[in-house]
Each structure stands twice: as C-alpha cells, then as structure tokens.
C-alpha cells in the first residue's frame, strides 16, 4: 500500500492527492529550507546583538535596542513588504553595492527578512538569559583573572544557553509558522503550494493537508527539542 492509498483510505481524495501531493512536498522542502537557513543565521546575528545590549556603550546599546525594538514591534508581513517591494526603489544603490540579487529574488529576500526578525527575538531571549546569571559568578570569574571574553565563553555563555534553550525552541516553532508568510511574496513554500493547489482544484481539502503537515512538523520539532533539552540538562538532575 502506498502512502497515497493509505491517505485515500483515511478519507482523503486520492485523485487530488495524486495531482497535488508532489507539489505540496516540494513546497515543504522550500519551507524547511527557509527555516533551516534563517534560524541559524539569526542565531549567529543574535549573539553579538545580545552582547552589545548587555555590555555595549550607550550608543551601541541604543542602536541594538532600536534594531530589536523595530523588528519585534512591527508585523513580519510589513517587514517583508518593506524589504522586498521597498528595495526596488533603491535598485541602483543596491546594485552598485552588489547585493541586488538578494533583494530581487523573493526566496532570498524572505531569508533576509526572517533572519533579521528572528535575530531580534533570539537576541532578546539571550539577553534575558545572560542577565539571569548571578552577578556574583561574574565577579568570581574576574577575581580568578578571566577577561571579559573568557567570562562569557566559560561562565555566562554555557549557563545562559541552557536557560535560553526552551524559549529558543519556541522561537524555532514560531519561525516554522511564520515562514508561511513567504508565500505572500510569491515564494512557493508549503503554504504557497497549497494556495496554488486550492486555486487549481477549488477543493478545500488541500488546506487541511497543509494544516496536517504543519502540525506534524511542529510536533516533531517539539519532541526533538524536548529530547535535546533533556540531554543538555542531564548534569542538573538529581538522581
């Protein structure tokens, strides 16, 4: 029994599944690519952002606060439109800077927007986690002769990451859901593929397939993350 037969026996329309199933799976691949590229890039950007917010001088701190405040306070859809459609007005300058390819292509523009957006949320998570580490530990580190970088690498960093693990997992799930917005700027991700399938077939069932796939995706990530957290905190458990 093939997967299509199985789903067919579960009440799904096998003809529809045959026609649109493959394009939905291709869409799922694009969704996974959007998330798998932008979330790690966002993390790499969040580390310096969080560091500046905790340790930076007044000017740098204000800049980082303004950056994260903007991306956390406005809708992702508005940010996406601002960068994708708004960039067209600065075509010449962006081309001269050699980055026009990124703004011209909807997929890469979505990656850029998602990265900046998730970096802001992740920076806020990391900042909160870093500031939750008791000041006494930092003083102790200084007394032991650690430099600023050493304190973060050896004392604050590892503990803050454990504190940040659960909220970072939530952020990953939020980004899986948010990646569906890429479909509004013509990217054919899972959401985009189901929209196409719906306008092709006018059968509402395709949205329910997409819903099941998203729910499965979120559930899988949630379980993986729980396992990861259990493993990374195993030294904290008593008995």
């Amino acid at each position: 029994m093939t997967a299509a037969d199985f789903l067919g026996s579960a009440g799904f329309d096998p003809v529809l599944l045959d026609q649109y199933g493959p394009s939905l799976l291709r869409g799922l691949r694009t969704t996974l690519a959007l998330v798998a590229i932008s979330v790690p890039l966002g993390f790499a950007l969040a580390l310096p952002l969080a560091f500046v917010r905790v340790e930076g001088g007044p000017l740098l701190r204000a800049a980082a606060t303004g950056f994260t405040g903007f991306f956390r306070g406005t809708p992702l859809l508005a940010q996406l439109f601002l960068l994708y459609y708004g960039a067209a007005q600065f075509h010449g300058a962006l081309q001269a800077a050699g980055v026009w390819w990124m703004f011209r292509d909807a997929f890469w523009c979505a990656i850029l927007t998602f990265t900046l957006n998730t970096a802001s949320y992740q920076a806020e998570i990391l900042r909160g986690a870093a500031q939750a580490i008791p000041a006494g530990q930092i003083e102790a580190g200084r007394a032991l002769g650690f430099g600023q970088f050493g304190i973060y690498r050896a004392i604050v960093g590892p503990q803050a990451l454990i504190l940040a693990l659960r909220p970072l997992g939530n952020e990953l799930i939020l980004m899986i859901k948010a990646s569906s917005l890429a479909s509004v700027v013509t990217v054919v991700d899972l959401m985009g593929a189901s929209k196409r399938a719906f306008s092709g077939s006018l059968d509402f069932e395709v949205y329910l397939w997409a819903a099941l796939i998203y729910l499965a995706l979120v559930e899988i990530v949630r379980r993986i993350w729980n396992a990861l957290e259990r493993r990374m905190t195993r030294h904290l458990r008593t008995a």
Binding site: G73, A78, A211, L215
Partner: protein, 248 residues
Amino acid sequence: MSEALASLAYGPDGWGDELLSGLWLTVRLALTALPFGLGIGLGVALLKDSRSWTGRLFGEAYTTVFRGLPELLTIFIVYFGAPRLLSASVAWTERLTGREPSGFAAAVDGFTAGVVALALVFGAFSSEVFLGAIRGVPGSQREAAESLGLSRFATFRLVILPQVWRLALPGLTNNWLVMLKDTSLVSVIALAELMRQSDVAARATHEPFLFYLVACLLYLGLSGLSTAGALWLERRAGRSFASAARQG
C-alpha cells in the same frame, strides 16, 4: 522627497485618510477579537483544568491545533472553510428534519473571518496563560473557601477568578501585542486594514518603501500605546498588593 511626503497628506490628493481608515479597521479587528479570544482562552483553560478526561483531551487538542497552525493558514481555513461548514450543517439539519433542501449557501465576510481566526488563535495561546494563573492561586485558598461552605462554582467566581486577572495580565498583554501584529495577515483576504491600505497606496504612488515604513511606524505606535495601557492596568490590578509587597 517633499513630493513623496505630500502623498501622505490627508484628503483627496494624499493617502493619509486611507491609511488612517486602515489603522481604525486594524484597531477594530483586534478589539472585536479580544473578548471572544479571552472567552475561548478562559473556557479552554477550565477544560484543561477539569476533572473529566474528555474535557482535558479536547482542551489539549484545541491548544495543539491552533498554536501549531500558521496564523495565515488559520485565516484561510476559516475564510474558505466556515461557509462550507455552515452550508453543510444547514443542509444536514434540513435533511434531518425532513424539509426541502433550500440550497442555502453561506457567505462569510472578511471582517468576520478575520475576527474568528484571530480569536481562535488568541484563545489557544491565552488558555495557557489562564491555566498558569488559575494554578497560581494557592491551593490553601480553595480549602479555606470549602471550609466556609462555598460551592465549587462560588469558589471559582468569588475567590479564584478575581485573582486570575491579576496573574494573567502580563501574559495576556503579550498575546495582545502578538494579535495586534497578526491583524496584518487578514490583509491577504482583501480586508482594507492598515497593511492592505499601505499596499494599495504603495502600488499607486510607486513609493513602496515610504508607505510600508509608515505602516511599520503606525504598528509600532499601536504597540507602544498598548504597552503603556497594559502597565496602567497592571498597576491597577496589583494595587491591593502594592503595600504588602513594599512591606515584604
């Protein structure tokens, strides 16, 4: 640049009035969804806290589905699915009662679909907040109420509920800020809220950067106002606790 700024003017030559009407619709959308979302959230939280396993199962399933689905997909499912569901249930009722099929075809407008979708999502996230708040009220208070002879319902209404509000407020504020931003997604079903109006203006004037930036700033303003309002509410809700906290 001055020409671009002129396009923001209020009146027939500028887009200022269109943007403001979009902003007003955005606010109405969120404010209409809020009471429904709060009701769903509290109801689902009570189900998850209930003694019956079917209630708990339903509560957990509801939360899993509406927290896990992308909001955009929820909007589409409500917008395209709700009319089908309505028509089907009308046809089913007619068949059941043995009446002639009327061929009734329901239609759901963008505003209603947006409010329903936003309330469903807000309810799912808020049920977790309410559940935490209900469990945050010390168990000894329930025992005290029981020993005073209060029924379970009276205990909930007179003892638990007044305190739930204070405990849930910070979490609900967070969910409100998320919903405010999520209203922008309703623009995809052609409702002329702030995002949609900015989009129309951006296309008509060929000034996309300006108009999307203005939209962003208006959303920032709404968030800022909400945060200030929430702080005020939190101070009010916690005013009977302020003196105790200061002494402790």
